[in-house]
């Protein structure tokens, strides 16, 4: 099977987290990168209209907008915020809006249980039902605006605080009632590499794959497990079978490198971009 072309490399903006949108767009142009994954808070800081102008003038594809989601509380505010995220994805002509569905209500990343007087709701099945209910509201809204939602299963170690959506199979079950072009899924190597069913579920996903994100799983994990994402080759993941499976499933879109890592974030962004492009060439686009 032929490996993906290097031109499908997309830089997720948080890989070079210190860069503003304008700096990241400029960095992509200087490094010959054709696609970028953007984050809402950085787009807001740059201004949505200005961001649209910057990426268009640079000729960049927007491979994803990160992120909508956080649907488990069932609050109307969450739905409203997701509608805004969908509008932004439409303006940016992003290939998809990544949805991180949220954890158990009352459980906040990095904060002890019960802090701020919050009650913890341990009803995991209930939280998962609320995700399906919110999706039923948001999917038609997104479809009307030509935005594809991309459900992202997160590693099970984030189930309590970030995403009750824990496997690719579960994401596909959730997406099933909708057309593939309306609700897709993210395959992120960090989140799925361990899953005994991953190859079967990637094949099942087929044209539901809306985004393929790559980074390594570091060992040992750092104290803040969110920062366990490493440059490809620095961790324990064998990328070849996963990339071959995603290719065999028919995915031809951009491949985003998304790395949360305190050392990478502290390094010079130009050096980081050079390094991840080189590793992409060695391990993904061989």
């Amino acid at each position: 099977m032929s490996a993906p072309s290097a031109s499908r490399f997309s830089m997720n903006q948080w890989t070079t987290k210190r860069w503003s949108v304008a700096e990241a767009v400029d960095g992509c142009v200087r490094h010959g990168v054709e696609a970028i994954g953007l984050w809402r808070q950085d787009v807001a800081a740059q201004g949505l209209d200005e961001t649209v102008k910057l990426v268009r003038e640079a000729g960049l594809r927007v491979s994803s907008l990160c992120r909508g989601g956080f649907l488990t509380s069932g609050s109307p505010g969450s739905i409203d915020d997701n509608r805004r995220a969908i509008d932004e994805a439409a303006a940016l002509e992003a290939a998809c809006l990544v949805m991180v569905v949220g954890g158990l209500p009352g459980v906040e990343p990095g904060e002890p249980l019960g802090s701020g007087g919050r009650a913890v709701d341990r009803d995991l099945a209930g939280a998962r039902e609320r995700v399906a209910e919110a999706l039923a509201v948001l999917a038609p809204y997104a479809a009307e605006r030509g935005v594809r939602l991309a459900l992202e299963a997160l590693h099970p170690m984030y189930c309590a605080d970030r995403a009750v959506l824990s496997t690719l199979g579960q994401a596909l079950d959730l997406a099933e009632p909708y057309p593939a072009g309306q609700v897709g899924v993210v395959v992120d190597t960090f989140h799925v590499w361990w899953d005994p069913q991953v190859f079967e579920q990637i094949a099942r996903a087929g044209d539901r794959i809306a985004s393929y994100q790559v980074c390594d799983f570091l060992h040992p994990l750092p104290a803040d497990v969110l920062m366990g994402r490493g440059v490809m080759g620095d961790g324990v993941i064998d990328f070849t079978p996963l990339t071959e499976a995603v290719t065999a499933a028919g995915y031809t879109g951009d491949i985003e490198v998304e790395i949360f890592n305190t050392e990478v974030w502290a390094a010079d962004p130009d050096e980081v971009l050079s390094r991840v492009k080189a590793r992409f060439g060695e391990l993904i686009a061989r």
Copy 2:
């Protein structure tokens, strides 16, 4: 459905890690605990014959011996060591020998990749195949000695360094070629609570459930994720549906409380045993 009887409480010895086998046996007797889960290294320190004598005189059931496994290297030494573990489980008349199957070859818990000059073998599928091959050697040996092997799926965050067996479904697939009395599975709340298929797989497990271990999943996880096991009620797990599912599947054996936690280990073991017994009464044996 009736909740389990409080008499099914078993203290896994590492919940009171500072206690020797003799001290732990004495603690169980003083606290009215009828069953204990033992660890091989502590049994060796006490002496196997002496341990057998202590548990018999105390009238304790040995709910499990922890642990065999570490089969992914494919080394003959690993097979030999597992045969010894089986012999020890037979002498102790343990209800099962818990098998933690091992991670990727060359990946050591807590140590950076490549330390000690070790090469990392990222072939996860290959490692999983070697587990199945080793099981084919060990299962008949265990059966001849009347020992039940109990395959333990570990949380996916331990896939690289401790167990390439990551879900209950995968454990059941691995056990399937063998009679249920010969190769069973462990259901450990910490490892499986997040799994969208857990209830379906517990029902599927039926009489393959060889051990039910309970402890909570702490949030946030501590810097060493191995220490993320908390006293029931201190974390994010809803124990009732899991215990009901295990009961509905027909499990009538002991229920082990197994907690790895630096604060629990620093506390007075008598206080810890009182506390976990009380929580067991509130959250498991209601």
